[in-house]
C-alpha cells in the first residue's frame, strides 16, 4: 500500500477543504419575469423602516415599496399621492385629506390613523429612529422624554390635522420624504421582522418573504393594487447591491444591469462615449463645500470674513470642475442647487465665488493688517470617499494664489471624520456636503446654517440670517418664501460659514434593453417609468 500514502495525502487535503464547507449554496433562483428591470443599489444600512432609513441604499427601496401623502415628480414638484388635499391658512395648522381606496399589500386600508401611528412611532424617543428629527416641528415632540405628538389629531378615516410649533411654509414639500410614510398595524407587532420584510402601499412590493438577500440583492415586483401616479410600466425592479461602482459599470456595459445611477471614477472620461445617448449627466440636488469653524483661529470677526472671502476668490472652480471632474460638477453660485425651485445664479455678492487672484491677495493682505497669518491652511477629508483629488486641487489653488501653506488633511474613514466634527475637536477646515431630503431651498439652509441647527457643524450664527429664515417659513406664498431664503444667502455670501465649491451632477446610464430612463430631482431614477424592451 505504498501508493496509497500519497492518495491519503490528497484525500486529507481535500478533506481540509470540505470540512469547512457548511450549508452549501442557497438554491439558484430563476431570473423569472423578463419584464423586470435591474438597477444598482447598496446594502441598506438599517432595517427597512421608513422612519429609520436615512441613506440612499435603503431609501430607493423604501420609496418604491411605500407611498406617502405626496411624491416628487422628475423636477421635484410635489404631486398628491395618498393625499387628496393639504391645506393651511397660517403655515402652522395643516389639514390633510386622504384619497379613499388605498390599501397596504396585506389588505389593510390606508387611513389617517396609518399615518398618525407611523409618525408617532418615528418621533418617540425610545424608538431611536434616525429620522425622528423630521417630526420636531410637530407639537409635542421631545428630544428628552418619551411623549406622544400632541399636534396630530385624527378626525375620521380620511382626515387628520397637523399642528406645528411654528410656521413652516415648506411643510407640504417635506411630506414626500421617507420619514412621513404610513405603516400598517402589523408593523408594530414585531418591528424587526417588519424591517426585514416591509409591507407597504407603494408602486412595488417585495417579491416574496425573504426577498431581501443581504449584501446580494432585493427583488421587488409591481403592486397591482397601486392606484397612484407612479404606476409601474415594468414588472418589477431588482436592486443589485454592488460593493464597487466599477463592478456595476462592468455589468452595465455588458448588458447585465439595466440602470446605473452613478459612474465610477475610472470610467468618467469614457462613459459618454461608451453609452452614447444612454449616458446621463445632469445637475443634482447635491451641494459641496468646505466649512471653516467659527472658532478656528484667524477665522472669526472682521479678520475671518476677509480671510474666508480671500480663500473663496483663490479657488479656480471652473478649472477644477473641468480637469478633476471632467465637467461632471457645476461650479457653485449659491448654497443650494440649481434643481431646486427658487435657485438663483446671480445673487448679490456671488462674485465671491469667481476666481480672482488680485482681489484675493488684496483681501488677504487686509486681514494680515488686522492680525498676521500664522500656520498653514488645511482641509480635512475622509480618505474612503475619493475626495483627495479635489482637496489637493483646491488647496493647491489657494497655495498658488496666496502663497501660504495649504494642504489636505486625510482621515481614514467617514466615521472618524464625522466623530471629530461632531465632537468639535477638528482643528482645520473640513469638507462638507449636503444632499437634499426634499426639494426646497430651506432644506439646504436651515439644517446647516441656522443657529444651533443639527448639522451646523461650523457653529455659524447670524441673527440677521436666522430672522430671514423665520420670514421664509412664515411666508404664505412660495415666491415670498424663496425671496427670504435668497436674501439670507446674500448675507451668507459675505460671511461664508462654508465656502461653496460646486453642485454635483448625477452621472449614470442605462443598457440597450430599457428605454424611458429619467432621473429624478434627487438623482434617483424614476424606476416606475422605465420600459423594458
Amino acid at each position: 500500500m505504498r501508493i496509497s500514502r500519497l492518495g491519503t495525502g490528497v484525500i486529507a487535503l481535500a478533506a481540509a477543504t470540505a470540512l469547512v464547507l457548511t450549508g452549501c449554496s442557497a438554491g439558484g433562483t430563476a431570473a423569472g419575469n423578463s419584464n423586470i428591470i435591474s438597477a444598482n443599489g447598496s446594502e441598506p444600512q438599517n432595517p427597512l423602516i421608513p422612519t429609520n432609513t436615512n441613506e440612499t441604499g435603503g431609501g430607493k427601496i423604501i420609496d418604491s415599496v411605500f407611498a406617502g401623502l405626496v411624491y416628487y415628480d422628475a423636477v421635484g414638484a410635489p404631486v398628491n399621492e395618498v393625499a387628496k388635499a393639504i391645506t393651511t391658512t397660517d403655515n402652522t395648522t395643516y389639514k390633510i385629506e386622504l384619497n379613499d381606496g388605498w390599501k397596504f399589500t396585506n389588505g389593510e386600508k390606508v387611513t389617517a390613523q396609518s399615518f398618525v401611528d407611523a409618525w408617532q412611532y418615528g418621533a418617540l424617543l425610545s424608538n431611536a429612529q434616525l429620522n425622528s428629527y423630521f417630526f420636531d416641528v410637530i407639537e409635542g415632540f421631545s428630544y428628552d422624554v418619551d411623549q406622544p405628538l400632541t399636534g396630530l389629531t385624527v378626525q375620521d378615516d380620511l382626515n387628520f390635522t397637523v399642528k406645528l410649533t411654528s410656521a413652516q411654509s415648506d411643510f407640504p414639500l417635506r411630506l414626500g420624504y421617507t420619514a412621513f410614510f404610513p405603516l400598517p398595524k402589523v408593523a408594530y407587532d414585531d418591528i424587526a421582522a417588519f424591517g426585514e420584510n416591509p409591507i407597504g402601499n407603494g408602486p412595488y412590493k417585495l417579491a416574496e418573504a425573504g426577498a431581501w438577500k443581504h449584501n446580494v440583492d432585493i427583488n421587488l415586483i409591481a403592486n397591482s393594487e397601486y392606484t397612484g401616479g407612479r404606476k409601474p410600466v415594468n414588472g418589477g425592479v431588482k436592486f443589485v447591491f454592488y460593493a464597487s461602482l466599477d463592478a456595476a459599470y462592468a455589468d452595465l456595459v455588458s448588458e447585465n444591469l439595466d440602470v446605473l445611477d452613478a459612474i465610477p471614477d475610472s470610467a468618467m472620461k469614457s462613459y459618454a462615449a461608451d453609452l452614447g445617448d444612454r449616458a446621463v449627466n445632469q445637475p443634482a440636488a447635491i451641494f459641496q463645500s468646505f466649512t471653516i469653524g467659527e472658532n478656528l483661529p484667524h477665522f472669526s470677526g472682521a479678520e475671518g470674513q476677509l480671510r474666508r472671502q480671500a480663500l473663496s476668490l483663490a479657488i479656480n472652480r471652473d478649472e477644477i470642475t473641468n480637469v478633476i471632474f471632467d465637467g461632471t460638477r457645476t461650479p457653485a453660485r449659491d448654497f443650494t442647487s440649481p434643481v431646486i425651485d427658487g435657485w438663483s445664479g446671480s445673487l448679490d455678492g456671488s462674485d465671491v465665488l469667481d476666481f480672482n487672484a488680485t482681489k484675493s491677495k488684496e483681501l488677504w493682505a487686509q486681514a494680515n493688517a488686522i492680525a498676521p497669518w500664522t500656520g498653514s491652511f488645511q482641509i480635512a477629508y475622509n480618505a474612503d470617499g475619493g475626495h483627495q483629488p479635489w482637496v489637493d486641487a483646491v488647496t493647491n489653488s489657494i497655495k498658488n494664489t496666496l502663497g501660504i501653506e495649504a494642504s489636505g488633511a486625510p482621515f481614514p474613514t467617514f466615521k472618524e471624520l464625522r466623530t471629530l466634527i461632531t465632537n468639535r475637536t477638528v482643528t482645520t477646515a473640513f469638507r462638507t456636503g449636503w444632499q437634499a431630503d426634499y426639494p426646497a431651498l430651506a432644506n439646504f439652509l436651515e439644517p446647516l446654517y441656522q443657529t444651533k441647527a443639527g448639522a451646523n457643524d461650523g457653529d455659524y450664527s447670524n441673527p440677521a440670517v436666522d430672522a430671514l429664515f423665520l420670514k421664509g417659513n412664515e411666508a404664505t406664498s412660495l415666491a415670498d418664501a424663496n425671496k427670504a431664503f435668497q436674501d439670507a444667502q446674500v448675507i451668507m455670501l459675505k460671511d461664508l460659514p462654508a465656502v461653496p465649491l460646486w453642485y454635483a451632477n448625477v452621472n449614470g446610464g442605462s443598457s440597450t434593453l430599457v428605454s424611458d430612463v429619467v432621473f429624478g430631482w434627487n438623482s434617483v431614477p424614476l424606476y416606475y417609468s422605465i420600459m423594458k424592451k
Partner: protein, 309 residues
C-alpha cells in the same frame, strides 16, 4: 496520534481567546464613533444616539462589551449587524461562497503549479524551464487587481464569454474566472517552490539508489521525487488556503462576489464590531484546523515523521 490531535485541539483554546480578544480590542480602539456615522450628513440626535449605543452595548466599558460578546458566542448568538441581520446568518451566507472560490483557486494552483513545477524541475535549464521562470516572474510582479481588471474587461466585457461580475447566488461556473485570477500569483509561487524542491530531491542519495536499483523513471518520479518534494509545497498550499479564505477582498470587490472579504471590508468601514469579530473568529478556527490537517499530512507524505506514541 489521537493524543496528538487532542493536544493540538486543547492548544487551540487559548489561541481562540487571545485572537478574539485582540481583534475585539482593535475594533474597539478604531478611531471614530460608528453611531455618529449612522447619522451621515445630518446632525447627531444625541438622545437617539444614546439609545443606539445602549442597544449595541457601545456604552459599556471595553472588557464588559467583550464578555457580552463572548458569552453570546457560547449561546450561538454572534450578535446583530446594524441592518438588523443576525451575524450568524451573514456567516452562513458568505463563507460557502468564499469557500467555493478558494476551492477553485486552490485546485488550479495544485494541478497547474505542481505539474508545471515538476516538469520544470526535471528539465532544469531546458527551454521549458527557462520560459516557465520568465512567465512566473511576470505573474508574481503583477498586482492582483491589474490581473482582475484585465480579465474582467477582456473576457467578461470585450469577448463576452462570461458575466463580468458574479450574480447573487455565486454559482460554481461564474466563480471560475475570479478563481483563475486568484490562483495566478500563487501558481507562480508553487511552480517555483516545486521546481526547487524537485531539483534538490533529484540529487539525493535515495534517488540515485532507486535509479541504480533499476526502477522505472516514472515510478521514481512519482514515488520518490514528487512525494519527497511536496512538503514545502503542502505547507504553502495550507497557508494559501487560509489566505484565500480571508484575503480575497480585492478580487471579491472587483467581481462583486458576496463573500467573506467584501462583507468583512464593509463591516470594518462601518465599525460593526460583532460582524468583524465573528468573521475573524471563524477565520481563526479555519486556520487552526487547516494547520492541524497540514501537520497530519506531513506524516502521510514522509514516513519518518511520526506524531505521538
Amino acid at each position: 496520534m489521537f493524543g496528538y490531535i487532542l493536544r493540538r485541539l486543547l492548544q487551540a483554546i487559548p489561541v481562540f481567546f487571545g485572537t478574539t480578544f485582540l481583534i475585539y480590542f482593535m475594533v474597539f480602539a478604531m478611531p471614530g464613533d460608528p453611531v455618529v456615522a449612522l447619522f451621515g450628513q445630518h446632525g447627531v440626535n444625541e438622545a437617539v444616539a444614546a439609545q443606539l449605543r445602549a442597544q449595541y452595548h457601545l456604552d459599556q466599558p471595553f472588557i464588559i462589551q467583550y464578555f457580552i460578546y463572548i458569552g453570546g458566542i457560547f449561546r450561538g448568538d454572534f450578535g446583530v449587524s446594524f441592518s438588523g441581520q443576525p451575524v450568524s446568518e451573514i456567516l452562513l451566507s458568505t463563507f460557502p461562497v468564499t469557500l467555493r472560490l478558494a476551492t477553485i483557486a486552490l485546485f488550479l494552483e495544485m494541478v497547474l503549479g505542481i505539474t508545471i513545477g515538476l516538469i520544470s524541475g526535471l528539465r532544469k535549464g531546458k527551454l521549458f524551464d527557462s520560459s516557465t521562470l520568465v512567465v512566473s516572474l511576470i505573474l508574481i510582479s503583477l498586482p492582483i487587481f491589474v490581473i482582475a481588471f484585465v480579465a474582467q474587461l477582456v473576457i467578461g466585457i470585450n469577448l463576452g464569454w462570461v458575466r463580468p461580475t458574479v450574480s447573487g447566488t455565486a454559482p460554481w461556473n461564474e466563480l471560475i474566472l475570479p478563481g483563475i485570477v486568484l490562483a495566478t500569483v500563487s501558481v507562480a509561487y508553487i511552480i517555483r517552490l516545486t521546481r526547487e524542491s524537485v531539483i534538490e530531491t533529484r540529487g539525493q542519495d535515495f534517488v540515485r539508489t532507486a535509479y541504480s536499483k533499476g526502477l522505472t523513471s516514472g515510478r521514481i518520479v512519482r514515488v520518490h521525487i514528487l512525494r519527497n518534494s511536496l512538503i514545502p509545497v503542502v505547507t504553502f498550499l495550507a497557508v494559501d488556503f487560509g489566505v484565500l479564505m480571508v484575503g480575497a477582498t480585492v478580487t471579491e470587490g472587483i467581481f462583486n462576489i458576496p463573500g467573506v472579504g467584501r462583507t468583512l471590508y464593509q463591516a470594518i468601514i462601518r465599525g460593526e464590531g460583532p460582524t468583524v469579530v465573528s468573521f475573524v473568529t471563524v477565520m481563526v478556527i479555519i486556520y487552526l484546523v487547516v494547520n492541524l490537517l497540514t501537520d497530519l499530512l506531513y506524516a502521510a507524505l514522509d514516513p519518518r515523521i511520526r506524531y505521538g506514541k
